[in-house]
Amino acid sequence: MTSPTPHTPRPRHLLDFQEWTPERLTALLDNADTMLQVLDRPVKKVPALQGQTVCLAFFENSTRTRTSFELAARRMSADVFTFAAGSSSVSKGESLRDTVEVLTQYKVDAYVVRHHASGAAHLVARYTGKPVINAGDGRRAHPTQALLDAYTIRQEYGSLEGKKVTIIGDVRHSRVARSNAELLPKLGAQVMLCGPATLLPADLAALPGVTVTSDPREAVRGAHAVMALRLQQERMTGGYLSSLQEYADQFQVNEKLMGEAESGAIVLHPGPMNRDLEISTEAADGPRSRILRQVENGQAIRMSVLYHLLVGRE
């Protein structure tokens, strides 16, 4: 196991990966190994966060991320409550700042924030003074998803060092792609982003360890892991694609495309899937698929993140 240098301050939040050193990220992944063990026990609960209250502040709909965080916090014995914006004063016009200041009066110890606006988690962090975990903000970041992706790949290969990870699809609208492009190179992997030119933002190519291409065969060649991104059909009204069928023909992750990858390469998808659009059913359910493993790992990663941010602070 890797221990960080003792003088590196522990990050207070998980908003993105800017403040997180590779050593701390590795420690976080290491701790997820233990969390997976906890999930395999007859009693799937440890008292590490007993007495602490975690608020799931979800200003945007989500089922799997919220469920995963809720179970993760409960497995650690935290008290959990969900603040759903749709049924709150937010729908009556209350600002995010005011909402957060009200929630703070409930003596919350940590916030898990999901919001449609990029940067919302940063704003919550500014007004709470408590640890904030970004569960997805706009197009900007979804760090726990990237962590569980990294963990799933590491589980397969033992390390991310020198691994090629290809992410195919609607990169432009994907906070998952953005967080992976930030995280994976920190852990030693190369990231290849691929999609139609209209869905490939140029700024990501400037990140260290990241390459972009519109050629899926080139993108997948020699890859150790291939991740299909959900095509956000609700956002496809801006003329980004000529047709869904054409997109599927060119960019779908399927057995044929996977033939270009390393022989043992795995298939990932952050979910929810549009089967037979961005990913074929054969690839989604086949022996290379680690999509359900990602879900299981997500809970362990979120336990590890909560543990890392909440436990042992002065």
Binding site: S3, R24, T34, Q37, V43, A48, M76
Partner: protein, 183 residues
Amino acid sequence: MADPKATILTADELRRGLTRIAHEIVERNKGAESLAIIGIHTRGLPLAERLAQKLSELEGVEVPMGMLDITLYRDDLSEVAHQPIIRETRVPFDIAHRRVILVDDVLYTGRTVRAALDALIDLGRPEGIQLAVLIDRGHRELPIRADYVAKNLPTARHEVVKVKLQETDGVDIVELWDLEDIK
């Protein structure tokens, strides 16, 4: 670097202490059938391995061995670790209907043992749990006592008992240090 105040156990004394504990375990449990040995990270593990080996030699039965990390069960977490690192818990057998010998190097406040008891009980319902330690240095904060002790050592709070083992430190020795001298 300063020297230790005293050597508490030499390698030979440590070996003899463990041998004596193994005999006491056999005596008290009328053999080694249905026993299991579980070591607490970090130095409880090699001690548990040695005890399991000695019990097997004495009784001719294999005593299953496991390892326990109690980090997630501690009640004094604000005092630990700049960096929370959790180690592996691996108990590859059913602890139900077994008498579990929990092994650690030093018994001090009792908080580690309390956490270990909670962790163990979450894994199943053992027939009984007994505690074996190399050193009991006193200063209990909880009503916990060891069943098997290689050496009782009255200490001051400003003193530190350092257990070094071949497996983790390359040498078998137990030393008493002044806290100031190891800072």
